[in-house]
C-alpha cells in the first residue's frame, strides 16, 4: 500500500512539537512534553520511510530513538523534580542556579 500521503501529517506533528517548545517557553514540563512529541513524529517518519524504501534499518534506528526518548524523559523529569525541590517553581525564567 502506498503510504506516502501520510508523510505531511507526520511532518505537521513534528512542527507542532517545535511550535510547542517555542510557545511554552515558560513551562519546563510542557517543553519536555513537546520534545516527546517531536521524537514521536521522528519515530513515525523513520518507520514510514523504512516501509516505503523497503529497508529494515529504519526500524532499528526507530528502536534506538525510542530508547533515547525513554532515557531523555527519565533524566529530564528527574532534573525537573530536583529543580522544583530547590526553587519551588518550574518556570524557565528562574533557571539561574549556575549563575551565582
Amino acid at each position: 500500500m502506498d503510504s506516502r500521503f501520510i508523510l505531511p501529517a507526520i511532518i505537521f506533528l513534528f512542527f507542532i512539537g517545535i511550535g510547542g517548545i517555542i510557545l511554552n517557553r515558560r513551562n519546563l514540563l510542557l517543553m519536555l512534553i513537546s520534545v516527546e512529541l517531536i521524537l514521536l513524529a521522528v519515530n513515525i517518519q523513520l518507520s514510514l520511510f523504512a516501509l516505503i524504501l523497503d529497508d529494515l534499518i529504519g526500524v532499528i534506528i526507530a528502536l534506538l530513538v525510542l530508547t533515547v526518548a525513554a532515557a531523555e524523559s527519565a533524566i529530564g523529569l528527574a532534573l525537573l523534580v530536583v529543580h522544583y525541590r530547590i526553587r519551588g517553581s518550574i518556570s524557565t525564567d528562574l533557571l539561574r542556579l549556575l549563575k551565582n
Binding site: M1, D2, S3, F5, I6, A9, I10, I11, L13, F15, I16, G17, I18, G19, G20, I22, L23, N24, R25, R26, N27, L29, L30, L32, I33, S34, E36, L37, L40, N43, I44, S47, L48, A50, I52, L53, D54, L56, V59, I60, A62, L63, L64, L66, T67, A69, A70, A71, E72, S73, A74, I75, L77, A78, L79, L80, V81, V82, R85, S91
Partner: protein, 199 residues
C-alpha cells in the same frame, strides 16, 4: 484501498489535532492526556500499515512508561496554571519566523530528495520459495538486531542503565536528621574497644 487510505488520513489528522491540544491546553494534566491520545493514534497508524510489532512496542513504551512518568511528575509537582501561562505570545514572532523558515526550507528540500522511484529497482517477479518461507516482522527485526547490530543493542542497554543511575542519583534525597548505619565504619569497629567490664 481508498477506504484504507481515508482511514489512515483520518487517524493522522486526529493525531495532529491531539498534538495541537497538547501544546495549547491550559492544564498540564490535560496536556499529558492529549499526549497519550496522540501516542495511541500514531500507534494505530503503524498498526494500519502492518508494522505491528513496532506499533505494539510504541504503545507499551510511550503510553506505558513515558506518559505515566509524565503523569506522576505532574501530580507530584502540583504546578500552578496561571504562573506558567503568564505571557504566552512573547516569543511568538520569532518562533513563527523560525518555523516558517524551517518549513519552507523543508518544502524546498522535500521533492528533490523524495523523487526516487524505488519500485523501479525491485524486480517484479515473485520468488515463491522466498515468499512462502519468509520471515514476519518480529523475526526479521530480531534477526537484523541480534545478527548485524548487536553493538547498537548493547549501546541502547547502556543508555538505559545510564538513565536509571542518573535519575536515581539526581532524585535521591538524603535526609538531614536521619540516623544511618555506615557499613564500612561498622565493619571497622573492634569489639575489644566496645565491650567494657563493669565493676
Amino acid at each position: 484501498m481508498l477506504f484504507q487510505q481515508s482511514i489512515l488520513c483520518f487517524i493522522a489528522g486526529l493525531a495532529c489535532g491531539a498534538g495541537f491540544l497538547v501544546i495549547s491546553s491550559k492544564s498540564p494534566v490535560h496536556s499529558v492526556l492529549s499526549l497519550i491520545f496522540s501516542f495511541v493514534l500514531c500507534s494505530f497508524v503503524l498498526l494500519t500499515l502492518e508494522i505491528d510489532i513496532l506499533a505494539l512496542i510504541f504503545l507499551i513504551v510511550y503510553v506505558g512508561a513515558i506518559a505515566i512518568l509524565f503523569l506522576f511528575v505532574v501530580m507530584i509537582l502540583n504546578v500552578k496554571v496561571a504562573e506558567a501561562r503568564a505571557n504566552l505570545f512573547q516569543y511568538f514572532p520569532l518562533g513563527f519566523f523560525l518555523l516558517s523558515l524551517l518549513y519552507f526550507d523543508l518544502g524546498l528540500l522535500m521533492p528533490a530528495s523524495f523523487s526516487v522511484d524505488v519500485a523501479h529497482f525491485i524486480p517484479f517477479y515473485l520468488e515463491w520459495p522466498k515468499a512462502v518461507l519468509s520471515f514476519g516482522c518480529l523475526e526479521s527485526i530480531g534477526f537484523l538486531l541480534y545478527t548485524y547490530f548487536p553493538f547498537y543493542l548493547i549501546g541502547a542497554g547502556l543508555l538505559l542503565l545510564l538513565a536509571i543511575v542518573g535519575a536515581i542519583l539526581l532524585t535521591l534525597h538524603r535526609g538531614v536528621g536521619v540516623h544511618r548505619q555506615e557499613v564500612s565504619f561498622q565493619n571497622r569497629r573492634d569489639w575489644v574497644e566496645v565491650l567494657h567490664m563493669v565493676q
